[in-house]
Every structure is written in C-alpha cells, then in structure tokens.
Amino acid sequence: MARRAGALIVAAALAALTLGPLALVMARAGGGALGAADWAALRFTILQAALSSLVSVLLAVPVARALARRSFPGRGLMIALLGAPFLLPVIVAVLGIIAVFGRAGLFNRGFEALGLAPLSIYGLHGVVLAHVFFNMPFAVRLILQGWLAIPSERFRLAAALGFGPSDVARHLERPMLREVLPGVVLVVFVICLSSFAVALTLGGGPRATTVELAIYQALRFEFDLGRAALLAALQFTICGAAVLATGAVALPSAFGAGLDRAAVPFAPRGWRRVADALVLTAAAAFLLLPMAMVAARGLPGLFQLPPEVWAAAGRSLSVALPSAFLSVSGALVLALASPRFGLVATLPLAASSLVLGTGLFLAVHPFLNPTLVALPVTMLVNAVLSLPFAYRILAPEARALEADYGRLAQALGLGGLARLRWLTLPRLRRPLGFALGVSAALAMGDLGVIALFAGEGGATLPLLVQRLMGAYRLEQAAGAALLLVLTSFALFWIFDRGGRHAAS
C-alpha cells in the first residue's frame, strides 16, 4: 500500500510541475488562438519527429544486436561512448555535425577531391541526420539492455535445440523487440517533438519551423502567452496520444526469470559475423567523427579558460548530482508501482522548457526574487525533465523484476527497506547506474530554465558557453563546451560503469 501511495505522490508532483506552469501561463493570458502558420509548424514537427524516431530505431537494432552477440576489445568503451552524443549541448553537436557533413566539412572535401558534386546537409534530411546522431546511440543502449535481459538459460536451451539464427530471431529476439521497441520509438519521437535549434539550423529556413520555435516567437517577440500555452498544450496532446498508441502495440515478452548464469552470446558465424563488424564500424564512424571534431575544436580553448568557467562548472555539478538522485528515485518509485504511470512519466519529455520556465517564473515572482532560487529551481526542473529517461531505462527491468520475484518476495514477507536492499537494488544495479548517469549528465547540460532565473554571476556552465559565444569568443566557448562535455561524460561514465560493474 505504501508503495502505491508513494507512486501516487510522485505522479501528482510530476503532473503539477509539468502541467501547472502551463496552466499558470494560460490563466495569465486568459485565452488564445492558433493561426495557419502554427498548424503548418505542427505538421512539420510531427513529420520530422516521426522520421527521426523511426530511422534512429531502425538503425539502432542491428547495432544493438551486434553489440549483444559479439565480444571484441573496446566493446565496453564503445557502449560507454554511446552515451556521449546524447549529452552534447545542442549547438556544440550541430557544429560538430557540420564540421563532418557540412558544406566545408570532411565529407564534402572528400567528394571535392574525388571530383564529385557537394551534398547539402540543409533540409529535412539534415534535421533527421542530426536527430539520429543524438538519439540513435541512446536507442542502442535501451535495446541492448533488452537483449542482455533475455536470460542466458533461454539461449542455452536454443543452442541445445539446435536453433539457427532465424529460429533465435523468431522465438527470442522478436518477442523482446516487440516489448522494447515501441517504448524506444516513443521516447525518441517525443524528444524530437520539442526540437528547436537543430530543426531550424539544419532545416535550412522557415519551412523547418517547429512548434517549439512558434512558442519561442509567441513568448519572446509577441508576448502572446495564450498562443504559447495553446502550442505547449498541443505538444502534450501529441505526446499523450503517442504514449497511448505505443501502449497498445507493446506486448510483454514474459521470458521468466533466469539464474543469472554468465551469458553465452548467441554468435552466428559466417557472413553474419562480417555484417556485424561492418555495422559496428559504420556506427562508430558516424558517431565518433562529429565528436572528434568537437574535441578538436575545443582543445585549444580548454587551456585558456577564463576563471569564471570553473565556478560555473562547480555550480552545474551542485545542480546535477541532487537532480539525478531525485529523478532516479522518482522514476524507480513509478517503475516499480505499475505500468499505468507510463503516461505521467513520459509527459515531461514533451514539456516546452520555455513555457515551463515562464510558468515557474509566474509562480515564484510574486513571493521571491527569482534570482535567489535560480539553482534550486533548475535542480528541480532538471530532475523532472530527466525523469522520463530514467523511467524508460528502469521500467522494463522493474516490471520483469516484479513478474519474476514479486510473489516470492510477498510469500517471504519481504517488504519496505529490506525488499529494496535485498531484492530491488541488487537486481536493478545495471539500469540504475545507467539511469543515474544519464540523469546527472542531462542535468549538467540543460539550460532551458536557468536563463529566466539566473542573475549576475549565477551562471551555470551551459549558460556561460552561450554567453561566451554571444561575446564573439567562439574559441573559448568551444573550450568551455568541451569541458561541459567531459564533465557530463565523466559523471555518466562513473555511474554507468558502477552499475555495470556491480551487476557483472
């Protein structure tokens, strides 16, 4: 009973923090209307998000399968690095992608040397490419987790029965994918719904207007709070519809519990081996090249950072750690309770950070100087915004845990803290580490809300990167951005590694 009450409290807090600010903005406006341009923006937003999520997941499946069934030197490093693109600040990643695929990028210079016509990255394909760069690696991690969660006994049985690769696919892999993929498509789709800078910069012009840009315009240039609130409500509606749709498609795989024996990877030989090697090489090149360009651009600036950068980095860390623990605790409570909390745990993904920030500002301003609460508010908002990721990582394994061990624990009278200590935490180490890593790193990087609250000198690292860029100091900005990436990645690596280490 206590667990259910806990989950209800978390769900209520989550709903209040995502929908409450929207309601405040709406109440302040008293009403609003949408124009033809807004509906065009909505159509483009859904189109790019749908394409981005499908392409990301289609490409992620072979990569995850190759990682699941092959062992090679550097495999652990590659799995860890898969977390990195997802954590890059948007503008840094866009510049990295452009350094590879842009007009003056590596590829086009190569084409030029071969006498071929240059390819333009600007357009819908560029938007999808960037979104795939950000989200495909995250999708790989989520799907890989699904593969590793198939008990090794099932693979042993398959081997004993003389299963070929197509039998394994039919009886083991497809049921797992049927359970995992809808959720992964959903997360990537909803992340891409609120894309703004990537879509506009790589989209090549006003054709690539997204709902989030329309919100920005309404809030900043027209002060049309009603329109902004309606647009934000529209984002939530699409997100809700997508959650319901995926809930209807996903089916539990029900493999049953295993005995945690060391996994015997099902590793078919022959052409499949070559194919896996090719898939892994291509994926690594696609992800590593832009990241290498980010590192190369940032290195010269890294050694001449102004002192403010270090203070800002400390501030960001002090936000990121509590935020991550809060977010993962909330997600765990929801994930253990019931799959019905999936909707409320996904909703923050669709939140427009501008509307969220504006609503919170309206809530705080009458009582307190917003500058005073800049860091606590940022901490809370980052926890809310990263909870959907933590939930998505924890939910499948938490559900399996309940299905496999719930009755036994009940029969033994294992409850409360004892159950957490002896059952939940040990069995969920791997996803918990991953979730903590992702949440902490995301909380380092976010700046959607701090911009409205930060006063003089209270800047976090992402805000400082933005200020450096605004002051022509692009080299220092690249250095500070690299520091941000390194810190985020270090946090991610420590937690993720801790989880995987403890689990193996």
Partner: protein, 327 residues
C-alpha cells in the same frame, strides 16, 4: 524544509542591506552583464559615484528583456532597462511601464533622436561580414541575389539581428521587399535561431557571408589581431540598430535611475562600449574611438524606420519573408 528557511534568510539579509545603501536594479541582456561585456566596468564606475549598490538582472537578448518586463508588470523590481532596440521600443512604450527620461538628448547618431521615453547608449550598422579572401563582394542586395554567394542569416522570429535584416530590406525596398527575398532565397544556406549560431557557422566556413554588424571585423582585429574579416558596404544604405535604455515608472529609486541614465552617456561607460559591446558609442568619448575602428566600413546612407513603423510593418514583412523562403 531547509530550503524555504534558507530563501527567507536571503530575503531578510537582502532587505537589511537595502535599508543601508540604496539598490538600483538594472534589467539588461545577457551579454551586457557577462564578464566580457560592459557590465562589470559600468558597475564599478557607477558605484564609485552613486553611493549605491548597482545590481544587474540578465534576461536573454533584447526581445527577452521586453517579454520579461511584461511578465513582471508593474511589480518588477527593476528601475532601469538597458538594451532594447528601436524594433522593440514601440511595443515597450505601449506597455505603459516606462517613464519619460526628461533629459536633453545630445548624442552622436547618424539619425536625429527625439524619443521622450528612451535614450540611446550605443548603435551599429547591420552588415554582411565576409572573409577578405572572398572574390566578388556584392555591393547591394540585388548584386548579392544575382551572385552565387552563400549567406547565413538569423530568424526574425527569434533574433533581434534577424528582425533588423527584415526591416533593412523593408526600409530599402518597400513594396519590392518580397521580390528581393525571393531572389535571395537561393543564396541563403540556412536560417539560425540566434546570432551566435549564424556567426559560428560562418567561422566554420559554411557560408561566404553572415548577417552581423559593420563593427564585427573590429573584434577580430583588436581582440584577436586578425584582419581577415570585413563588412560589405551596400549601396542602398545600412539599417541601424540603436540600443536604448529607459526608466520604469514604478521604480522606487527614480532619482538614482535618472542619474544612471545620464551616466550611461558619460565617458566611463561610453569609452568601454566599443571594445565590450563592439558597437559605436552614442556619444563620442574625448579620446575618440579605439585604434582599429578607423579601418571599418562607414556607410554613407543610414536607414532606420521609426519605432511605430517598425512595429506596424512587422507582421506584413514577416509574412513576405516566410512566403518567399518557404518556397
């Protein structure tokens, strides 16, 4: 429960400090207060003479300032707002939150100034910046449109330079603006949400030219000793960005606010603006402009729509821009 107590503590100490020295709160854009902007120098210089505590509150860019002010309304604790531009002042005046500055305006601007609410503190000409190595530099929008030069611009729906470009084309071409945008469409590599992204793309080599200011090459020359950048002079003239400050009617420190507005036009502030904001000072300092500014392009014709025109033309100009580029 620790946190509300902590916040209450902050509020109390802030209250006690306020009883001792008067506090002047200045709402401004981010890059004004940043360590690399004019903010720190302005704060030190003003605090030396005012016997007060000058506090900056930063809010994004010029447009964000106005939005922030509208959110706060008359409850705003800001006394002075620094950093709106003439594309925003009509909307700012319409809020009724500003009080007349009451000062006689003596400024060195390429245009006459008679706004009763807002005082200019710096200004610049929008321009397309390019690398000196660029072969044929276009000398007008029409030449640019006819050339195969590739440009990056900012979105007028999310960035003040983007809005400035919209007004530039409108002021120079009037009813022919849609035609010009239609001809420019194939030169535009992409449209970015803000100035930083566009400038970053230009420096990465993604475009031959970027929409910025005639003063941008001065940054590279003075701060980086790099003279490879230049601004292209356009025959139809260059649109001005005039940055202004204003006093809020609800200020609890009206006299300090007046003093600060006057101080903005004095030597200590005006002399740091060229190399911190990289704009022209509204009143030329006694020592003149910093070395390097004499190398900059100085357009013969300055264009500027009145604040009311800028506001009333915006929806139409935005629609024309969107229609021409969405094709």
């Amino acid at each position: 429960m620790k946190f509300p107590m902590l916040a209450a503590g902050f509020v109390l100490t802030a209250g006690v400090a306020a009883a001792q020295t008067p506090v002047l709160t200045v709402l401004t854009y981010d890059s004004f207060t940043s360590e690399w902007g004019p903010g720190p120098a302005v704060e030190t210089a003003f605090e030396e003479v005012c016997g007060c505590d000058l506090r900056f509150v930063a809010a994004g860019d010029g447009a964000a300032l106005l939005a922030r002010l509208q959110l706060e309304g008359a409850r705003s604790e800001a006394d002075v707002v620094v950093g709106l531009d003439t594309n925003l002042t009509a909307a700012a005046a319409a809020t009724g939150l500003f009080a007349p500055h009451g000062a006689a305006v003596e400024v060195d601007l390429p245009v006459a100034w008679d706004d009763p609410l807002f005082l200019p503190f710096d200004w610049g000409w929008f321009a397309f910046v390019h690398d000196r190595k660029m072969a044929e530099v276009p000398g007008s929008f029409e030449e640019l449109a006819a050339s195969d030069a590739r440009i990056v611009i900012q979105d007028p729906r999310s960035s003040t330079p983007g809005l400035g470009l919209l007004m530039w084309v409108k002021a120079a071409y009037g009813d022919r603006a849609p035609e010009i945008w239609g001809a420019l469409a194939d030169n535009i590599v992409t449209v970015t949400p803000g100035w930083s992204e566009a400038y970053g793309l230009f420096l990465e080599g993604e475009a031959d030219m970027v929409l910025s200011y005639t003063t941008s090459p001065a940054y590279h020359l003075i701060a980086e000793e790099d003279d490879s950048k230049a601004a292209a002079p356009f025959r139809e003239g260059h649109y001005l960005q005039v940055e202004v400050a204003g006093k809020l009617a609800a200020s609890d420190q009206p006299e300090l606010a007046d003093r600060f507005l006057a101080f903005l036009l004095e030597e200590p502030v005006q002399s740091v603006l060229p190399t911190t904001n990289w704009m022209y000072p509204a009143r030329l300092p006694a020592g003149g402009l910093p070395e390097g500014f004499e190398t900059l392009v100085r357009p013969d014709v300055s264009l500027l729509l009145s604040a009311d025109e800028a506001l009333s033309l915006r929806p139409e100009a935005l629609r024309e821009w969107q229609d021409a580029l969405a094709r």
